[in-house]
Symmetry: C2
Subunit: 456 residues, 2 copies
């Protein structure tokens, strides 16, 4: 058995593992840092939907690069850690043992498939969206000469894949478990607008029914239909199960690292597990909401990256004293030419989870000024606001590409606990070709509308 010794060992080479390695190296240039990951090639996770259609067009175009980490002197090995001797600080993979001083678990997530559908995973033509080059390559190839695709699930991965397949002329049916698509990130008024665009692109959405069986009618180990709860049978050539992800904690569980809610590894605000020398970051952790402080199932690369930076700078002592106070579930996607973005709690969640009494402030404007500027696009901002403190709890935006950064502005407002009274008179750069007008910049107007509501 080969034996090596490092200062920091990071298990997992996804976005959180990579960012943690780079951050840890910056903060501890003299430490030996090693990342151990299962595959040679790594996909950029959020690029996966775009591999299937015209946008990226190939698996190659969706690959990430480790150049920065390598340049900084971070070592990378390929292998699967099968066991860890926690007491003696040794990890084992293949014929190798690595002793470490600090350990970071960044094992990510694996697709979640409902128990009733798991047996179908062995059929030809049934796929999940695992973050694996091998699986995505196989799926892309399988889809090549297939015309009819059923996507189970209506989250953003499902929607993005549906739009890419529709864009190359496939017949796509999405079967979701909710009345409208994207129902976890958006209130129904906004989700409806997104759904309209998806339907106009030729995708059929079935929200009132759900898939109860995946069928192999010819008994040739190949899917050719799904059965819905209503009894309806839908013929198909390909089924994609985009029904979410669950923390990948097989290793953590095996070696006795404590879990928290929803099967994620328990961590404190600085991403330490119950063992102070072992950190966990990314989708494999038990998360909570920034506003609600309640358990959250959110899995986003941006939340993972923030956690990775906290861990990477806290590994030999809490250096910057800014921990993770929960995820703000900040997220954006583009459907057709329209961007939908969300941060913090939706009004549905605000009512159900935070138990605050909230008000809504919304404003529909445009993203240029005056409205005669060519290419002007509707820009709608909706804010969820605490009635009693005025604090902004959440925001949703519909707009053109700029909405992808407006949501980051709203995210920063939520993270810094600012109120509508402060946003009302915030200073923004406004430019005819780039933004709404200074007189009715939609975010500020939405804050003003919320104040009006509070005072009414």
């Amino acid at each position: 058995m080969n034996k090596e010794s490092v200062d920091i060992l990071i298990i997992g080479g996804g976005p959180s593992g990579g960012v943690c390695a780079v951050t840890a190296k910056m903060n501890n240039p003299d430490k030996r840092i090693m990342v151990i990951r299962e595959h040679e090639k790594q996909l950029v996770p959020c690029s996966i939907p775009y591999i299937f259609g015209k946008t990226l067009g190939s698996v190659e175009n969706g690959l990430g690069s480790c150049a920065m980490a390598t340049q900084m002197g971070i070592e990378a090995v390929i292998g699967e850690v099968k066991d860890i001797d926690i007491k003696n600080k040794i990890a084992y993979y293949g014929e190798n043992a690595i002793s470490f001083d600090k350990l970071v678990i960044a094992t990510g997530s694996v697709p979640f498939v409902h128990e009733s559908l798991q047996h179908s995973l062995s059929l030809n033509g049934v796929f999940t969206i695992a973050k694996s080059v091998e699986l995505i390559t196989k799926l892309k190839k399988y889809a090549d000469d297939k015309q009819n695709i059923i996507i189970v699930g209506s989250g953003f991965i499902g929607v993005e894949i549906a739009m890419e397949f529709a864009g190359i002329g496939k017949n796509v049916i999405m079967v979701g478990g909710s009345k409208y698509i994207l129902n976890r990130a958006f209130d129904s008024d906004i989700a409806q607008e997104a759904q309209k665009i998806v339907e106009e692109a030729g995708v059929t959405y079935i929200g009132s029914d759900r898939v109860v069986a995946i069928m192999d009618k010819n008994d040739d180990n190949t899917v050719n239909a799904v059965k819905l709860e209503s009894g309806k049978i839908l013929d198909t050539d390909l089924v994609i199960l985009a029904t979410g992800y669950q923390p990948n904690t097989t290793l953590a569980t095996k070696v006795g690292i404590s879990l928290g809610h929803y099967g994620g590894i328990w961590v404190d605000d600085y991403m330490r597990t119950q063992n102070q020398d072992i950190f966990a970051i990314g989708d494999c952790t038990a998360r909570r909401g920034f506003i609600s402080k309640a358990p959250s199932k959110v899995m986003l690369a941006s939340t993972s990256a923030a956690e990775a930076r906290v861990a990477g700078s806290s590994i030999y002592g809490i250096k910057y004293l800014k921990g993770m106070s929960g995820t703000i579930s900040i997220f954006s996607t583009k459907i057709g030419d329209t961007v939908f973005a969300s941060a913090g709690v939706t009004s549905t969640k605000a009512e159900a989870k935070t138990k605050t009494t909230m008000v809504i402030g919304s404003f529909q404007g445009i993203n240029r000024h005056p409205r005669t500027i060519p290419g002007a696009h509707k820009q709608y901002v909706k804010l969820i606001v605490s009635r009693y403190s005025g604090q902004i709890l959440g925001g949703q935006v519909i707009g053109s590409d700029e909405a992808g950064e407006i949501i980051n502005l709203i995210g920063q407002i939520i993270e810094s606990g600012r109120s509508v009274y402060s946003v009302m008179s915030m200073q923004v750069a406004t430019q005819p070709l780039l933004t709404g007008a200074p007189t009715n910049y939609p975010l500020i107007m939405a804050a003003i509308m919320a104040i009006k509501e509070i005072e009414s």
Copy 2:
């Protein structure tokens, strides 16, 4: 003489007057509010450059609308207030007298022309960029059959007009008083990139010389050349003096309202003049920098709008307790396909004015991820940071359209006094088609680079 009586009288119908009226009405729905302005039609000020080229193409397309104010029951009259009886609270215009309870002065700014060039304003073919439909219409018409244009000044108005004229095939020479264009808003590394694009569009920039005389060589009261300090003579058909603006305080001075620095009306954080019933907002006020607290000459519609919202909600008592703590000089423009944006202090200003010891953190990334996404554009973020507190004092961005909102995110970070330690682990929404990667989102990376600099 007609006599009327209102609760709140606002003098000036530009962005600040309009926003103040709307805000005051929302906060005081039962009060009678009147705006008095000089012209029937009002230009959206920042749309003016785009009237001259293909973007808007006509003065009509640059007009603003008062529909919202009218709908809310705000009265508007056309006229020029010539005198105010401060003691008895009566304003006079034409044959009319209006008594008021509260007065807001929003008389804006007028073009600044150096003394040595003022006599030339009477020549045909010499124009300033006054915010007047009449003047802009005249200039557009005059330019129609002229080929050679000289623009004096290299601020954003001058640059935007130069690019529009170049875009319709005119020969444009800009003569600025600084080595690079846009030198007040950008450090020279960034200004140089902007200048390169302007020059590639066919505009000639002369930064090392300045205009000392505007010439009428044929003695026919029509400009046909300018003389530079170096002695060089440049022939031309049209001269535009885009050399800045100065507060329009003729009325305020006449009626004895106290001025502050740079000829602007003195105001406190709630935009009250030294008379507690009289407010002043917008370009006619004496401004200071948010970071430096030093006098500032910045004139931006977005600063004006923030002041207007503070005044409009404070007019019958300080309702929201968030005053103006100075302008963050937040600003963006698009030159060719590239956006240049700035907020807070530049590194030049940070050194000269705030007397802080600062560090720079910068990062060049792209606005999409992975970089194989079609249409990816360079995105460069530079942060000016206090070495001792880590507080972000300023930021500059080069990017595609999204930079227009990234600067607003940076502005919010500056306004809320956040540090690089907080930005390092901020949560951002990242999406392949809309933003940089979660692993190297340029704003976060620039904060990390600043931390590295502080710790080095």
